[in-house]
């Protein structure tokens, strides 16, 4: 039995080689299609990694920890107590390896009003620790005037370029922030504009103000408390596992889940996550339509090969090969062709992605600057990234294409009647 399939496979391989020109022409469409799919997904994957990176560095982190009630209320009353904050930081350090953990920092985030001499607007106020955040903060990279916060700052603040425009502020201007403090009373704080940032995300630039964490705590009478703890990791790969470990440790310490919700970024930023997924699905649908057209060409080519070899299949049947083996031979030929094309396409896609465009693809000509997406922003020079999930998806697509494109020609081959095929009736 095994011997039979070895013979069938040998004939299939030689038939592919025998029709080399046809095989190459058929496979070239597929090679290009798969290479395109690989490259586009690599580019999109690279962009998505950058979106996640910037979104997490805007303050949410790869893992965000807040009081469960704060998620809905955004009220400082629903904050993390200082003691729990320490336990949370300890749990983070115990759960993530030193190579994995880039930063862990507490934050005070509160909604309030920013008022200048000319106007007042609603803003999102962030109390940040410059010592802990300086190296990872996305805002630190995006300061276009003045400077980012320093550890010794007290009344200094950085504001978005949109905030500066709307309130007619410039470096050194005074600004009054108002928000509800721990007692529920409206508290105000005077700060000086020491830096102006421009992230490229309009809602951020028009509505974010940051001041030192210590100042925010004092102003809002929060003591050592904070509204959130953010964890920045060196890579997104282990976010889920590390979040689980933190959750487990905090659970054992009696903090989570009642006192602290530990959420990976995709739960903390569902809009971004849904946006990235929709983007990927859209790309796959578009490219699958393209590949379906390619598959039709492959079906046509294999079918023509079967019809041209009707006599040969008749002989095989006459010599004792059953219908299943004849169908298997056509399937093997089609699969050899499609799998080899798929592999070549993936290698070509890989070569283009990490060889030709290793330093990134500049798409600024499409957007005229930074690219904002679902509240995150990326540099327009996108380094392609090959994700394991994409490689698995593309391999599955290639195998499915191979099987689907070969089924009909194989079925046709099984229907060939030996005597008819050989046309030897007298």
């Amino acid at each position: 039995m095994m011997e039979r399939w070895v013979v069938v496979a040998r004939i299939a391989v030689r038939n592919v080689r025998r029709q080399l020109r046809r095989s190459v022409l058929t496979s070239s469409a597929m090679v290009l299609g798969i290479a395109l799919l690989m490259f586009v997904r690599a580019l999109e994957g690279g962009a998505h990694l950058m979106y996640v990176d910037t979104a997490t560095r805007m303050g949410t982190g790869h893992i965000a920890m807040e009081h469960p009630d704060y998620i809905g209320s955004q009220d400082v009353e629903d904050r993390i107590a200082g003691a729990d904050l320490d336990r949370a930081v300890q749990a983070v350090r115990a759960s993530a390896g030193p190579d994995e953990l880039v930063a862990v920092f507490p934050r005070v985030n509160v909604g309030g009003l920013a008022q200048s001499a000319s106007s007042s607007i609603p803003v999102r106020i962030g109390g940040v620790d410059p010592t802990l955040e300086r190296d990872v903060s996305f805002f630190a990279d995006k300061v276009v005037e003045g400077r980012y916060l320093e550890p010794d700052d007290r009344l200094e603040a950085i504001i978005g370029a949109g905030v500066a425009e709307r309130l007619r502020l410039e470096l050194g201007s005074r600004l009054v922030l108002m928000a509800a403090g721990s007692g529920g009373e409206l508290e105000s704080q005077l700060v000086l504009v020491t830096g102006i940032f421009r992230t490229g995300v309009p809602e951020v630039d028009r509505g974010v103000v940051q001041l030192p964490l210590a100042t925010a705590r004092e102003w809002l009478e929060l003591g050592d408390d904070a509204t959130s703890v953010s964890v920045i990791l060196s890579a997104d790969r282990r976010t889920e596992a590390i979040a689980s470990a933190i959750r487990q440790r905090l659970d054992q310490a009696g903090v989570a889940p009642e006192g602290l919700a530990v959420r990976p970024w995709w739960e903390a930023m569902p809009d971004l996550h849904a946006g990235l997924r929709a983007d990927a699905v859209q790309t796959y649908i578009m490219l699958l339509i393209l590949l379906a057209i390619v598959a039709l060409a492959v079906v046509n080519s294999i079918l023509m090969a079967v019809l041209n070899r009707t006599r040969e299949f008749g002989v095989l049947r006459a010599l004792g090969l059953n219908r299943r083996s004849v169908g298997g031979m056509v399937m093997a030929e089609g699969l050899i062709l499609t799998l080899a094309s798929g592999l070549a396409g993936m290698l070509l896609g890989l070569a283009i992605s990490v060889g030709l465009f290793r330093d990134g693809v500049d798409i600024s000509f499409l957007f005229g600057g930074d690219v904002a997406f679902a509240g995150a922003v990326v540099d327009p020079v996108i380094p392609p990234a090959i994700l394991a999930s994409d490689v698995i998806a593309i391999i599955s697509i290639v195998v499915a294409m191979g099987i689907l494109a070969t089924l009909y020609p194989a079925w046709q081959a099984t229907r060939i009647e030996p005597a008819e095929a050989m046309k030897t009736d007298e």
Partner: protein
């Protein structure tokens, strides 16, 4: 009735009963085989003769299970070929029947040697055994040294010899040969026919030839003459002789 050494019991090697094959319908119907009832015993060496279009190839295809009868039955080794599943029929062809086709029908992607050993490979014979049998036969029928050539690099006669080698290797119970000596010169024909006679004599292989070739008919021990799908005459004869009626023109 002598049982074939490879056979299951004392059945005729081939037995047809009121066999009909009609192509098409109504006014365009072609009656290729009409009411043919013959029994061929194991070890017979039979020539089917008759003018072109007399139904020889169709009869051989019916016996080999390559086409279904319109009416009647065909039994090979006592088994009703028409009632067998496609799979069982393929297995029967593989294990019991060797075919030589009119147009060689070699597989273009296989070498001469691989073509010849193809049925043996499908039967699961070991490589050594296959190569030994092929080499011996190739030497005998003048194909020595051509083992690695693809069919495209062989002459018509050489291809025909490879096709015959493919049919007889492994000594199947029955060999159905459609014009096996067409395209062969006298020497090559004689060599091939000798091989077949040896297999017939020593291993009891039953041979049924469709042929116009007097050399084949002379060696046959029984001749069945078909005309318009009917058996016009069916007679045993002495090997080496050629009855006059064999080559008589059809009486119109």
């Amino acid at each position: 009735m002598t049982p074939h050494p490879n056979g299951d019991g004392p059945h005729p090697a081939v037995d047809t009963h009121e066999l009909w094959k009609i192509f098409g319908e109504g006014s365009t119907a072609v009656h290729a085989v009409q009411n043919v009832s013959i029994a061929i015993e194991p070890g017979e060496f039979v020539a089917l003769c008759g003018p072109s279009g007399s139904g020889k190839t169709t009869l051989v295809n019916l016996i080999g299970g390559l086409t279904d009868p319109t009416r009647g039955t065909v039994r090979v080794d006592g088994r009703d070929v028409g009632a067998m599943s496609e799979r069982a029929r393929a297995q029967l062809r593989l294990e019991r029947i060797g075919f030589v086709f009119q147009a060689y029908n070699l597989l273009p992607v296989l070498s001469a040697l691989e073509n010849a050993e193809f049925p043996l490979m499908l039967r699961g014979a070991g490589r050594e055994e296959r190569r030994r049998e092929v080499s011996k036969l190739f030497e005998h029928i003048g194909l020595g040294g051509l083992e690695d050539r693809r069919p495209g690099a062989l002459s018509g006669g050489q291809q025909q010899r490879v096709a015959v080698a493919r049919a007889v290797l492994g000594a199947p119970a029955l060999v159905l040969a459609d014009e096996p000596t067409a395209n062969l010169d006298t020497q090559a024909s004689d060599n091939l026919l000798e091989v077949m006679e040896v297999l017939n004599r020593e291993r009891g292989v039953t041979f049924i030839f469709c042929t116009h070739d007097p050399r084949v008919m002379r060696r046959a021990r029984r001749i069945i003459r078909l005309v318009d799908g009917h058996v016009e005459r069916d007679a045993e004869k002495e090997p080496g002789t050629l009855p006059d009626w064999v080559l008589e023109p059809v009486d119109t």
